[in-house]
Amino acid sequence: MKVPLSLLLEFCDPGLSAEEISSVLALSGTEVERVTRLGVEDSSNFVVGVVLTADQHPDADRLKVCSVDVGAPEPATIVCGAPNVDAGQTVAVALPGAVMPGGMTIKKAKLRGVESSGMICAEDELGLGKGHQGILVLPNTAGPAGRPLGEVLPLDETVLELEITPNRPDCLGVYGVARELHAATGAELKPAPWERDLGSGGDLDGIQVSVEDSDQCPIFTARIYEGLSAAVTPPAIAAHLTAAGMRPISPVVDITNYVMLVIGEPLHAFDLDKIEGGLTVRPAVAGETVATLDGEDRTLIEGETIIADVGGPTSIAGVMGGARSEVGWETTRVLLEAATWHGPSINRTSARLGLRSEASGRFEKGLAPVLASRGQAFASQLFEQIYGVTPVAGTVAIGAVGEATTVKLSHHKVNSLMGSQLTAERISAPLERLGFTVALDGDEFSVGVPLDRLDVTRDVDVIEEIARIDGLEKLEATIPTSGAGGGRLTRDQRIRRQVQDALVSAGCFEAAGWSFCAPGLSDRLRLAADDPRRNAITLVNPMSSEESILRTTLLGSLLDSAARNAARGASAIRLFETGPVYLPSEDGLSDEPQRFGAVLCGPATQPDWRNASPDDVDVHGAIGVIGGVLDSLHCQWKIVPATEPEPFLHPGRSGVIEIAGRPAGWVGDLHPLVSAEWGLDGGVAFEVDLDAVISASPEVLHYWAVSAHPMVGQDLAVVVDAGVSAAELIEIAEEVGSPELESVVVFDIYRGEQLGENAVSVGLRFVFRADDRTLTEEEASAVRQRILDALQDRKGAQSRG
């Protein structure tokens, strides 16, 4: 909400600067988003002008030569480039000597041979806004010519743009903000503008009103003003409206806007002579239409609240009035409506129609019914001031203002919740300044809540009022000492961190991927039609179709990130992510198993001065990264060939990661078609189920005795069929070599012509050791022979000597 500072100060002036007031408001709960200076440094030499003639410049297509009455004996000749300037307009004129907001001084000057004595100004040139579609055209009532412009425009104004929180619609009027300022500073608050009511209650002749649904319209009031004749909006009111961002239109409309600006209650004025029969507040029938004030035809949907006469809808309740009953210059009889509406319904209707107005913005917060009578009272003063009329006797009033509520508040609770030692006086003072009544009985306060504070219903609501006005800066800063939360990570959380750290140690960067992905990802990953990963959680209202489902694999966004880096010229790309995937579950929610995965592209080791062109990373590089992670957590794991290779991996260079004997993920070279799809050169990837790691990682590591006796190292090279895997050989060796075999690793793989096409030589390096004695070479050789025999028996292995 935009609050002209000068208007605020009319109601409460604490003698502070705009910045100080902003700070006071911010620290008591009214955030000031922006402080804007409007207008010019010095408003002398700015006057109201009336354009007498506007003729084409003889030597310039786009310029007009205007004769402008500026209140001087002779009209001024002003050359103007605005397309909208026209004879008869009332305009803002900067005369020679005027200093514009940019610092430029207006001087007499010749423009294409015609001497110009001033400038007709646009909105932005006066520092009033951004408008530069042409000159600012003032209402004809802004005159007479020569009047200081500062009297009708806020040429010396400061505007506070406030963020009013949704619980405080009472601050959607300047007077509500003034009360906050009063409460926070103690500066005097002027009497409320609605205190003097020139109207009367009782039945109102001349209009019949009925309200069908009081839930939608808690209160509806109306008054009639008759005998209106030509009048002028007082310049100060016009200036305040302008400063608040509302254009002065006509005195009746300006009255409704001014009441809204000051006390927060939007009013609506009907031309009473254009209403046929009485008014009914009722739900719209689907398809009913109304021509709104903005010249649009609006079609209503079932149940939206309208105000109708016998001719159909005349306005959309709380959102916008209808053109059919619009007030104009010819209007002599006005029906002035002040009502409140069901906030959420107003919100829905205005959102559906795309009609956000100052009025709907207030009504959707759910205004207090008491504002209706206040609005009528304040309006009656303005009608008298501007038109010299008072309302016709009587007021339509349908609905109730509601009872004032009382909240019981324990003195102990105040201090317990705040952590303070406030006295009864310090508790009651802020409340009273805010308009609450306070009575103390023993330890208990009875707090009477003002009728416009619908947000205060419980003791904690009252405590908030005390805390914010007494001042949160006075609170001590204490720390609870219980520490009942344990102060430690759970095992799962600790292992997740360890996995992340191990991946970092393996030379990978963690990426932050998106949970959203495109349904087309499944095709890009070549997933089969029945692949369960196609079964994703679908958003009802995604930002776009590209972000319409939740990921079932981490691979998609890892590939996206890798592709972006590759496109930017990165050579070594090693990205990982840890996080959940989202799998539909039967209860309509999702299973969110944690995974970790990576995509690696580029050289397997860092190119350097010893090896400038290392090989590209392959599946074994990826296995190394996984192994680093799993070994650091002491998990039992191995890679086994997949019976059904993942469709996005190279079928001959990929496998299943088994942890503690169960499949827990996949690893492999990317399928060339997938690499190409993402514009990558090769690349490898893996994804592992974190829960499998968590359950396989031993909770505690226990010591096992290390042998004090020396080891014997021996090698064995065997030739086997190429279909025999190294893991099979190792498994047999471990089985047969026990107990003397301490470890076995593959130290060499060789294929060559002399071995034959389908054979491979595998070099195994054994470490033999006994727990209880020094093993002899002969004993070790016997074990090696035992292993060789088994390999020969079971896999047809031949020793290469």
């Binding site: 952590g419 759970t490 880096n565 999702s590």
Partner: protein, 350 residues
Amino acid sequence: MLERISQIVDEAKAAVGAATTSAELEELRIKWLGRKAELPNILRGVKDLDPSERGPAGKAANQARVELEGAIDTKMASFAGAELELRLVEDAVDITLPAHPQQFPGGLHLLTQTMREIEDVFLGLGYGIAEGPEVELVAYNFDALNHAPHHPARSPSDTFYVGDSVLLRTHTSPVQVRTMLVTPPPLYVIAPGRVYRRDDDATHTPQFHQIEGLAVDEGISLADLKGTLLAFAKAIFGDEREIRLRPHFFPFTEPSVEVDVSCFACNEGVSNGERCGLCKGTAWIEILGAGMVDPNVFASVAGEQPAYDPEKVQGFAFGLGIERIAMLKHSVPDLRLLYDNDIRFLEQFA
């Protein structure tokens, strides 16, 4: 004989003293102590001497041999050390060449680092870490958190829905509810995680991260909230930081506050004589929202966990955006950088 032995010793020692290389010393060793040298000959001839001479001559010759061997060994050792040093100097490499093998650099994402840093602060304050699902029930995300049935945040224009009663959580606050349902007070817990809102512009991504905090215990007060958040702010932004609380509104806390930390890039809003760009000259930076848990939130769990009777328990809650904290602390100008995963960005924080 004894005279001759002493003469040999003197001559040999002089020669050893004059030797300048280990090769020379080797020659001297052969000359004075080798098979054909005089002293060993004397020693070998001792047995042929008159018995009365045998004792003194043998003793002296043996002493002389030991003395000479010692002198040569000592001198030899000094040469060996010096010559080794010489060889090592010749065996130099260019140690300015980079390491080999070079490790690939790696690092945690800035969001993870920030999250851990914040988690560690609260672990130190005795909090536990709770987690909850991202696909969440409307009942936990809004209803139990005192959002009115027509609260605008429920609108499909603001919130991603998966079904009528299921959504992508819009904050980590539903973890408050889930945790209270299974854990009676006292409760000190934070809940980090990913959250979603239908916003996509320069300062919003539809996915972001929050950390929720919840403390419920006997007599927990607004002053406790202030002290806790002050400790947090000092830990994250520096010991010189102050905080201030500004009253605000949230559906699930009452009273509610927004919390500002004193700007760490300027002095009272002025930096190098100019208005500070970080705090816009205000000297304060908004970092989070907080408040005392609304009794209605306690009431929503008290059915299943009667210990949360709103008449009996008090607590505070707070929620902060990880992205915002990370960007503020590390001068990251654009939210998008956090989700772009450009390695040149990632390695800056490795």
